[in-house]
């Protein structure tokens, strides 16, 4: 397959890592796993390793989707939403994630919540991040040291695109005003930040709600990216800042070791030092 457009020129310098990736569809989006094509080994070895790892991750995503999807009438989440199942009778996975989401609601002053305005429990705001987290644990258990997992624009990495080096994975951030271009990029793995999550209005509509918190229109955000040590923190805070606006942004940057890049509704950018330093480093 020949890509029609790429943000980077291939073959620019021999130091550029050679990667392989495999993709699958789950949770309404596309998940891709990339690993370095290790130079010292037979090419087929890394392909088989990648495809086996992708199969593990795919099974995990599909298992969680069967439990948590509100698009599947036969899922446990749908049974909960219809009131046919009480939370205390739900699977341990469901109860644990609900508790975790509830804790985040407290921590974010209600900006992140797992309950829709009509009272229905909806964990979709945290399920994908949970799946990414579980997948990351599995990849480490498989013995994979260098990998990059991207699920619909949320990213978790380990190691480096150049095995054995300190080189971080570089994640581009989409410009919500022109999705064929990047706003900037963030080095993942540096300073312990392995996860990047982005929340926005540009693709899946305005599906974010919050408990009583309403950002004023002039301080609202169009897209919020959060880099953190773990994908749950990154994802929850990105969603919370989208919902809660500038107040939640200030809360997040003062309470958690995160870097944030926010695109305001007027197109302006707000960035914490981690995103600024990259800009000045060119």
């Amino acid at each position: 397959m020949q890509p029609t457009s790429k943000p980077s020129e291939p073959g620019l310098g021999s130091a550029e890592p050679r990667l392989r990736s495999r993709t699958f569809t789950s949770m309404g989006t596309v998940v891709s796993l990339a690993i370095p094509a290790a130079p010292g080994t037979a090419p087929q070895a890394s392909v088989e390793e990648l495809e086996a790892a992708t199969a593990v991750v795919e099974q995990l995503f599909k298992r969680l989707d069967r439990t948590f999807s509100l698009y599947r009438p036969d899922s446990e989440a749908s049974a909960l939403a219809r009131g046919e199942l009480a939370l205390r009778d739900a699977a341990p996975d469901m109860r644990r994630l609900y508790v975790e989401a509830s804790e985040w609601r407290t921590l974010t002053d209600g900006a992140f919540t797992a309950e829709r305005p009509d009272g229905v429990v909806d964990l979709s705001g945290i399920v994908k991040a949970h799946a990414i987290r579980e997948a990351g644990t599995s990849l480490l258990a498989l013995g994979l040291k260098d990998w990059c997992l991207n699920a619909g624009g949320d990213v978790l990495v380990d190691g480096s695109p150049t095995p054995g080096s300190a080189r971080p994975w570089l994640a581009g951030i989409i410009d919500p005003e022109n999705r064929s271009t990047l706003l900037t990029a963030f080095p993942l793995g540096n300073a312990g930040k392995h996860a990047l999550a982005t929340s926005g209005t540009s693709e899946r509509g305005h599906h974010i709600w919050s408990a009583g918190l309403q950002a004023a229109p002039n301080e609202g955000f169009r897209q919020v990216s959060v880099a953190a040590a773990d994908i749950i923190t990154a994802d929850v805070l990105a969603t919370a800042i989208m919902a809660g606006g500038a107040a939640t942004l200030a809360l997040a940057t003062s309470h958690w070791d995160v870097d944030v890049l926010a695109v305001k509704n007027d197109g302006g950018l707000l960035a914490t030092p981690g995103f600024r330093n990259l800009a000045t480093a060119g």
Binding site: P7, V30, G153, T181
Partner: protein, 172 residues
Amino acid sequence: MLASAAILVVGWQAGTQVTASNASTVTTSAAGTTGGTASGTGSTANGTTGSSTPGSSGTGAGTGSTTGSSSTSTLGASAKAGGTYAGTAVETRFGTVQVQVTIKAGVITDVTALHLTDQEQRSVQISARAAPLLRSEVLSAQSANVQTIGGATYTSEAYLTSLQAALDAAHF
């Protein structure tokens, strides 16, 4: 070296807080006083002690300007050394502001507000705060060799025309 040591003592007596920087080769903290003079203390990572003597105007007098004027006037001669500099606290129409300036090879690479008082007169720490960033400042990243693309969740249909799909296709 003697002069540096003397300034070090003055800086100590002035109660200057020396802050350590993680990345810079030299870490210097300079604090201006209201009289327009300043003393600097040096905390060194590689044996160099930086100090600063700012101009007589600026830091204490700022009314309409915040980070710009106070940072420029606080840097002075030590700017060549490189490092992270904490300016003096300045009363401005925005409240009390103290800036931290990072210098590499004589060039300001970052200006961060260390603390200021908000409208309720509480002191707030904003060193990790998100501050405005110009798009022109990040345009260079367009040419960055990224390995993956972060963005708001795309649908499986939207993926087909996404930059991530192009990357995945390239990583066959």
